[in-house]
């Protein structure tokens, strides 16, 4: 890794944030966190993270989705890779959002709680791909 990559975690559960933060830090990432979409968006504009990990149901029930759509309208964040991590996927069997659908421009969706090995692999892949404009290189991937 040529330089330290920064990951922004946006999630309203402080314990979840603590666990993921520890995991990422021990793998050499710099981690920042925000507990809601508004704060997350503000922080993202300020620190320009290499990757965002985003929860869905925070203060508002679909806050994560709104935040994501909002972020994509902001030029400096339009290309930042985003992994949406939510437990709502386990409520929907075989829930899949194809990024080509365009309405939810995330790079990847993962169920919560997230498998540490899988998360690290995806974080590495997406932060390293980030030099070359993003997520779209991962856009064809499906959650499986």
């Amino acid at each position: 890794m040529s330089e330290t990559k920064t990951v922004l975690i946006i999630d309203d559960d402080p314990d979840y944030v603590t666990a993921i933060e520890a995991l990422l830090q021990s793998s050499g990432y710099q981690v920042r966190s925000a507990c809601n979409g508004r704060e997350g968006l503000h922080l993202a504009r300020t620190i320009r993270p290499d990757l965002i990990l985003l929860d869905v149901m925070m203060t508002e029930r679909t806050e994560g989705f709104f935040m994501l759509q909002e972020a994509r309208r902001i030029p400096e964040l339009s290309q930042t890779p985003v992994i949406v991590i939510s437990s709502i996927y386990t409520d929907q069997p075989n829930f899949r959002v194809s990024p080509e659908a365009g309405w939810l421009p995330a790079s990847l969706f993962l169920p919560k709680p997230v498998d540490p090995a899988r998360l690290l692999a995806e974080v590495r892949r997406l932060t390293e791909a980030a030099a070359d404009p993003i997520g779209h290189s991962a856009a064809g991937r499906r959650e499986s």
Binding site: E60, R61, D91, P93, V97, A101, K112
Partner: protein, 430 residues
């Protein structure tokens, strides 16, 4: 479209696609309902959505609109005059065909129709209106004020009748009453919808609140085991593993309970949808093959390519197939096999999921579709499950108008046979 429906559901919102030209980004209009205050649940503050979204303003139907259908011009003019004076907007038609065409477009709350007309008579007009609008208040004007005509009109679906000749006051009064009735019907419908919506949102919220602490605990354990690999004593690793399994058990239970509540609330199964089974089965098999338990199993899928789509939406059907295939894996034995086959039989799509597993003792079979029932034998004691999977399957199949049967032989295996109605050719989902 099926994809964003489940997404917006937790938000208790409505998503509406906007048709866009090919190659242009699709647009979605989202309406999010405000949160409801629920008893005892921590309520996050109410805030407008962050993004500027256009709420759909479904224009409320015009309440003071009356359509008059009468072949008698004098009658049309006088009705129009009386009702216009009373503050109504009136559209008049000289024959049933033109009237019905317009009624279909504008769906007014009120219709005044003459019984005796050439071509289409009043009864025929009422009958055809009732096919597309059960709520419109229809007042019949009749020259023959016999009880029989009145009864016939009511039977056909009229709300009231007015014998000729009538005074302006009589017409106004009957129209006012009709409007009030229509308004009450609409109000009742709105309240019913709201109540259902509140219930649905409550379920989603409770489920999220129940799951969050478990997710946090499981996440700590996952990260701890991963980060401290090789540094923990064996006993600790074992106990953390057991704790994780218990958490997954609880999470699955909440998830199944949520699914069941949604099916019961009628908010899942879309009966108008038509969905091909083959891709669903293929996706689920592909996913579940990866489960450690499935590693030694042979899974054979035989779905003919020309199988017609079945009634129901992708989410319900996925849940059904996923539970059946999941059971066939869980209750199988190392080296066993599973076959998933489908055939068309007298207008039904028959799906058979057969395994060579441990089977079900006969005395348990009648209880399989009961909530929280689980077969308790030495062989099943280590198999995780909530006792809700088959209940969910049964409810989904029942909602869709199909059937589910089971046959099993202890020690030999089990077969679930599901019959689903072939979809009427309307719209495709998936």
């Amino acid at each position: 479209m099926i994809l964003n429906k489940p997404l917006l559901e937790p938000a208790a919102g409505v998503a509406q696609p906007r048709q866009a030209a090919t190659g242009v980004d699709s647009r979605f209009d989202c309406t999010l309902y405000p949160r409801v205050q629920n008893r005892g649940i921590r309520q996050p503050e109410v805030r407008p959505p962050m993004a500027s979204l256009n709420p759909i303003q479904a224009s409320p139907p015009e309440e003071k609109l009356v359509v008059v259908i009468d072949d008698d011009e004098i009658m049309r003019l006088s009705c129009e005059q009386i009702l216009t004076k009373a503050g109504y907007r009136v559209e008049t038609f000289a024959n049933g065909h033109d009237g019905i065409r317009r009624l279909r477009e504008i769906r007014p709350p009120l219709l005044v129709v003459d019984i005796k007309m050439p071509e289409l008579n009043g009864f025929e007009v009422i009958r055809s209106v009732r096919q597309f609008d059960p709520d419109m208040a229809i007042v019949v004007i009749t020259g023959y004020a016999t009880i029989e005509t009145a009864v016939d009109a009511m039977k056909a679906g009229a709300y009231d009748f007015l014998p000729k000749p009538f005074t302006p006051g009589e017409l106004r009064m009957i129209i006012e009453r009709g409007r009030e009735r229509w308004r009450l019907i609409k109000e009742a419908q709105r309240l019913r919808r709201e109540k259902e919506e509140v219930e649905r949102r409550f379920i989603t919220l409770v489920s999220h609140q129940l799951k969050s602490p478990l997710v946090a605990v499981k996440q700590y354990l996952d990260v701890m085991l991963f980060s401290l690999q090789g540094q923990l004593p064996d006993k600790a690793v074992e106990w953390v593993g057991r704790s994780q399994a218990r958490l997954v058990e609880m999470l699955t239970l909440i998830q199944d309970w949520l699914a069941l509540s949604k099916i019961e609330g009628g908010s899942w199964s879309d009966l108008a949808a038509s969905t091909p089974l083959a891709p669903i089965v293929a996706d689920i098999v592909q996913d579940q093959r990866l489960l450690p338990l499935a590693a030694s199993l042979t899974i054979d899928v035989a779905l003919p390519a020309d199988l017609p789509p079945v009634r129901g939406d992708r989410v319900s059907l996925s849940m059904l197939v996923s539970n059946l295939v999941g059971n066939a894996i869980k209750y199988n034995r190392p080296g066993g096999s599973i076959s998933i086959a489908s055939t068309l039989e007298n207008g039904w799509v028959k799906l058979v999921v057969r395994d060579t597993g441990i089977g079900i003792p006969q005395e348990y079979i009648p209880h399989l579709f009961q909530e929280f029932f689980r077969v308790k034998t030495p062989e099943t004691q280590d198999i995780p499950g909530t006792g809700l999977g088959l209940v969910i399957c049964k409810r989904i199949v029942t909602e869709l108008g199909g059937s589910i049967e089971v046959s099993s032989e202890e020690g030999q295996g089990t077969a679930f046979v599901v019959r689903l109605p072939v979809a009427e050719m309307k719209k495709e989902t998936g």
